[in-house]
């Protein structure tokens, strides 16, 4: 929430909840399905692809990747090939791919709930308060 949009009618943005909405793991799995990558790059890709320009917190991303490795969703290898500090290259595992599929189903359910919200809202909108 509160992803940089202006306030609406002077009501300060609600600003509750995480900016990446509990789907950070899902996004990471998705991006890694696209191609193996390291944390810093994922950070940048996340900022673009998720729609709002705001990149998530680096610490959170790195922590998530580590946890996901512990859980067998991804594997990592140090990459010293290019100049600059070494990077940890992450790859999706079979398990990670399966979880991504589960996430996709979850996201669809989630979206249909949001649709329901919006359809109810559009029904009610404009009516005087009861």
């Amino acid at each position: 929430m509160c992803v940089g949009e202006e306030d609406v009618q002077g009501v300060p943005c609600s600003c509750r909840g995480p900016r990446h909405e509990g789907f950070l793991e899902a996004w990471l799995l998705l991006l890694l399905k696209g191609s193996p990558s390291h944390g810093y790059e994922l950070l940048e890709r996340l900022g673009q692809v998720t729609g709002h320009g705001v990149a998530p917190d680096p610490g959170t991303v790195y922590r998530n990747l580590r946890r996901m490795e512990d859980e067998g969703l991804v594997t990592s290898n140090w990459d010293f090939s290019d100049a600059g500090p070494p990077r940890r290259l992450y790859r999706l595992t079979e398990q990670g791919e399966e979880l991504l599929q589960a996430w996709a189903a979850e996201v669809e359910n989630y979206r249909s709930r949001l649709d329901r919200f919006l359809s109810i809202y559009s029904e009610l909108r404009g009516r005087p308060r009861a």
Copy 2:
């Protein structure tokens, strides 16, 4: 997440994040826009309307309503009219209505992000891991 759906392909449901996804306040505002109501009833309506049969935690709902009253989003009056324990009748305020509008915009943004997720997923799906 993990709203009672079965596991997908043996992968245990991710189960991270709140069941009502950080939109509890939005749902409460929306339902109250529909008609004034009390906590217990909102609890039941939430369980039906949000799509998954699972009702949110009562404590969480009551606490949210109280907070929302403190913030001027709703007002409450005790209702002794019917039999049984007294209930606290909540009504949406002008402020609450404005915030609901802001929430609706937020939900739309949110949904478009989920759309983006799903469209990327459907592009990638089926491809072998890189």
